[in-house]
């Protein structure tokens, strides 16, 4: 039976049963101190929809609550059977264990800063000659934002990370990923700190509205790639 991988974790604290995706059987494949969690799912049923995506997230979150460290799998990641999954755990054991150590006891907070005012540079952008060139220029400005906006977003990212201070384990940021978004940051923090950080980070400034989502399993920091 094909397997849809949910996560690689440390061994669970308790051995209770969970349902897998679409009510399928959730199995765990162990190797050394690694556990691979996957749902038995016929490949024929694999026309995924939004509910499946969200169910995958809920399932990983449930698994995450039962273990000390969790590496979520990118959706969808298939294995042909348990032997294939077990073989991959064996071949990448050292890399996976090292990555699990880095996220042990941690969760991810997603910080998104939305511009609340229009970009003056975009509004006032000159529109040169041909329609094609004008379109490309406008797209470039709209996506990247003005230099001043990028600088503002960088300062904001620094400020938010300083706000967390020593409680911040790791961070990844995208500055001005789109015209409406100033900043998209992934913050790795201790689970025990996450709730109070949520309220500390969320606010509205004069030019940006800061939204904080999570705590989530450490998706962004499960950085393991094969081959």
């Amino acid at each position: 039976m094909p397997l849809l991988l949910q996560a690689i974790t440390t061994p669970p604290d308790a051995a209770d049963l969970l349902d897998g995706l679409r009510g399928g059987r959730l199995i765990s494949v162990m190797h050394a101190d690694l556990v691979g969690w996957a749902t038995e799912l016929p490949h024929d049923d694999a026309a995924f929809n939004r509910e499946d995506l969200l169910e995958h997230h809920r399932l990983i979150s449930n698994i995450d609550r039962r273990v000390a460290a969790c590496l979520p799998a990118r959706f969808p990641t298939w294995f042909t059977d348990t032997e294939a999954l077990s073989a991959r755990l064996r071949s990448q054991k050292d890399q996976l264990l090292a990555q699990l150590d880095q996220v042990r006891g941690c969760c991810e907070l997603a910080v998104t800063a939305l511009w609340t005012v229009a970009d003056e540079a975009v509004e006032a952008a000159p529109t040169p000659g041909t329609p094609g060139r004008r379109y490309l220029m406008e797209r470039r400005v709209a996506i990247a934002g003005s230099d001043s906006r990028r600088a503002r977003a960088m300062r904001l990212a620094d400020e938010l990370e300083q706000t967390i201070g020593a409680e911040l384990v790791r961070a990844q940021r995208q500055v001005c990923p789109s015209a409406t978004v100033a900043l998209s940051s992934a913050l790795l923090v201790r689970r025990s700190d996450s709730q109070q950080l949520l309220s500390r980070l969320q606010r509205t400034d004069q030019d940006v509205r800061i939204l904080v989502n999570g705590p989530w399993p450490p998706y962004t920091f499960a950085d393991v790639r094969s081959d």
Binding site: A7, L53, L71, A73, R74, W78, A110, V181, S226
Partner: protein, 75 residues
């Protein structure tokens, strides 16, 4: 069913939450096997990502040709 899109100029807080989550589920996490692909059939959240989840959109474009048609609508 025709495709519908959320407003790209002012995404709501709920839109942002879904987009950020979808970005992580589809683009990040452990990749352990060469068989891993981004399946887009019916995953309408990707359409919401046009303005925010740029990498997801790139994946969408790369995979759109092989995706089955589905009901693509906003949340």
């Amino acid at each position: 069913m025709p495709e519908r899109f959320v407003s790209l100029s002012k995404p709501s807080a709920d839109d942002v939450s879904l987009l950020e989550l979808a970005d992580r589920l589809l683009n990040r996490g452990v990749v352990l096997t060469g068989e891993a692909t981004i399946s887009v059939a019916g995953v309408d959240l990707i359409y919401l990502g046009l303005n925010v989840v740029l990498t997801a959109v790139q994946n969408l474009k790369a995979n759109r040709a092989t995706a089955a048609p589905g009901d693509n609508h906003s949340a």
